[in-house]
Amino acid sequence: MDGPRLKKILCIEDEYFISELYVRALRRAGYEADVELDGQKGLTAAQTDKYDIILLDLMIPTVTGIEVLRTLRDPAKTPKLHAKIIITTNLEQRDDVRADIEHQADGYLVKAEITPRELVEFLQSLTA
């Protein structure tokens, strides 16, 4: 099978069952996938710079998703990060707030509007 070059994905998501669905679909599509259930742990994992894609939920405990995004995009705090950051959230925002987030991230998806397979297709189109 001509799968994608093996890519490592970090899923920062506090709803375990949602992460389980995503990881299942990602692994079946040939990706490696890890999950962190809160912001602080997710931030630490992301800053190791060993992931190619980071799926970041916004409503997460300890450190908020927005704070994680800011820290990852701050060169002083995260000197090296090659990963694409995709916001995956069910949170609704004001347009200007959302625009600001989208500007800092490489994609913005509403989880309730996509299925796991659609997520995989989206990521494949990103990395193709």
């Binding site: 949602i18 669905l21 299942r24 069910n90 949170l91 609704e92 004001r94 509403v110 309730a112």
Partner: protein
């Protein structure tokens, strides 16, 4: 009579006595020389001169001693209370005096009293200086400023802090700081933890935190600020930890103004929805092929229902946003046929569950449209959703687009469903309006058409309906070509044309195009 007068009297009496004694001694001496010793000639003259000379020495010595002793005592007392020499000079004991004892005792007591008054004044002066500092300076500081004791109790909060926390300063004083300020931090580095590690270990330390929050996000008294703390161990006045708050509720608050009730509810609704859609897809992939047709159809209907639920949740949220008058549309130049195709292909999946098909008749020579892609998608999707809902099984829905005689892009969604009664038609675009005839059979929130109207009018177009009960309905709306909007863009000088008052959930499928 004062002590001093008494002393003078005593002294004069003493002096008189001494002089009398002195004279008596001289006379006695002369008498002895003449009659007793019977000295004559030069011996007699020498004795007569020597005797007064002796007494001349005796007299001053005795009187000077009487005067200098009290003076010495007073000198000793002064040296004793003077700050420079106090250590070297013990207090005098006037009981050792005989002449002028009362005077000296009295003077020494007065001296001690004076000294204690001076000390009190000095102390009061420094207290006043301190009061000046805390009450005047700290109170007029425009930054909220709080002082904590060793056990984290608020010892002092200035006026700015009282105003900021909406509590009188007297209420704050004496409260534990964590009770008075229910703070949340953006990480596990909290004030409490920092104080725990710093207290009693460092002589002095500073730390700061960004985006500390008090109050629930989205509530009226929620505030966000940066916090700076200075700790100093064993401060003699008990002022161990000083806190300063720098308010940033305005800028930080924008991040969570969206967390209103509706947004929170939507978030809660979406979580199980995400799971449902995910599991449905999994079962469809794993089992779909092997199921018999009826069960396969049920699978597809589950998927459709989940999709509908998502759309309804979006609608509810959009209406809330419209109410709030938040957000704005960004109008861009778009190819109209592409937009129609995208919506139709998404909705075709839902329609196909009941065998309904959607046909498109889009004129090939349409100009580009000036639209907000996401909200226009929402509009057409709502119209199609209605058409599907009110159509019979296996019906056909037609979407057609042409350029009308006014130069506007006119789009119609035609169904052959139950149709709308004439009496209801005028209200059909109102919020929550659902004809009671239909409510029991067909689900819906009555928001779709309300939103459709809002979107179309925000784009500068119009929407209307033609319908006949039993034959079906045709909803038509107009959209301005991009060319017409160019003028407006030139006038405002911006890249996009922004329209206000409504905000939209951007549907994911748009990212695919």
């Amino acid at each position: 009579m004062s002590y001093f007068e008494r002393f003078v009297r005593q002294f004069r009496a003493r002096l008189l006595l001494v002089i009398l004694l002195n004279n008596a001694l001289i006379l006695a001496g002369w008498y002895a020389t003449d009659r007793v010793l019977k000295l004559t000639g030069w011996q007699e003259i020498a004795a007569i001169i020597a005797i007064p000379l002796l007494t001349l020495v005796l007299l001053p010595w005795v009187t000077s001693r009487a005067l200098t002793r009290p003076t010495k005592f007073i000198w000793q007392a002064i040296m004793h209370v003077s700050p420079d020499t106090a250590a070297d000079m013990p207090a005098p004991d006037p009981k050792q005096l005989r002449l002028g004892r009362e005077l000296v005792t009295n003077l020494v007591n007065q001296l001690y009293q004076l000294t204690s008054v001076v000390q009190k004044m000095e102390h009061a002066g420094s207290e006043a200086a301190q009061d000046l500092h805390t009450n005047f300076v700290a109170n007029h500081l425009p930054l909220p400023f709080i002082v904590l004791s060793h056990d984290d109790t608020i010892m002092y909060a200035n006026e700015a802090a009282a105003t900021y926390l909406s509590k009188p300063a007297t209420d704050l004083a004496g409260q534990n700081v964590y009770t008075a300020l229910d703070m949340s931090f953006t990480s596990t580095d909290t004030l409490h933890d920092w104080l725990d590690t710093t207290k009693d270990k460092a002589a002095a330390a500073d730390h700061s935190w960004e985006r500390v929050r008090i109050g629930l996000p989205g509530s009226n008294n929620s505030k966000q600020f940066d916090l700076a703390a200075h700790y100093n161990q064993g401060n003699p006045l008990g002022y161990e930890t000083l806190l300063t708050l720098f308010d940033h509720t305005g800028t930080y608050g924008q991040d969570d103004q969206s967390l209103s009730f509706v947004a929170l509810a939507v978030h809660e609704l979406r979580t199980p929805l995400t799971l449902l859609r995910g599991y449905i897809e999994v079962f469809d992939e794993e089992l779909g092929a092997g199921l018999d047709p009826e069960l396969q159809r049920f699978m597809k209907q589950m998927d459709a229902a989940a999709g509908q639920l998502t759309a309804f949740v979006n609608n509810i949220l959009n209406v809330a946003k419209v109410e709030d008058d938040q957000l704005s549309l960004q109008l861009h130049e778009e190819k109209w046929p592409e937009i129609i195709d995208a919506v139709v292909s998404d909705l075709q999946l839902r329609a196909g569950v009941r065998g309904i098909s959607i046909k498109t008749e889009v004129a090939s020579d349409l100009p580009t449209a000036g639209v907000d892609r996401y909200s226009i998608y929402e509009l057409i999707a709502n119209l199609l959703d209605n058409a599907i809902k009110y159509s019979k099984d296996k019906a056909v829905i037609t979407v057609s687009s042409t350029l009308n005689k006014d130069g506007l892009i006119e789009t119609s969604v035609r169904d052959s469903g139950v149709g709308i009664d004439g009496s209801i038609l005028p209200y059909i675009f109102d919020k929550f309006y659902r004809s009671h005839q239909n409510r029991s059979q067909i689900g819906g929130t009555g928001l779709g058409l309300y939103l459709a109207k809002v979107i179309v009018e925000a784009h500068g177009g119009n929407i209307w309906v033609q319908s006949k009960p039993g034959e079906g309905s045709t909803f038509t709306f107009t959209i301005m070509p991009y060319g017409k909007l160019e003028d407006e863009r030139k006038a405002t000088g911006s890249q996009d044309i922004t329209r206000h008052a409504h905000g939209w959930i951007k549907n994911h499928s748009m990212y695919r195009n």
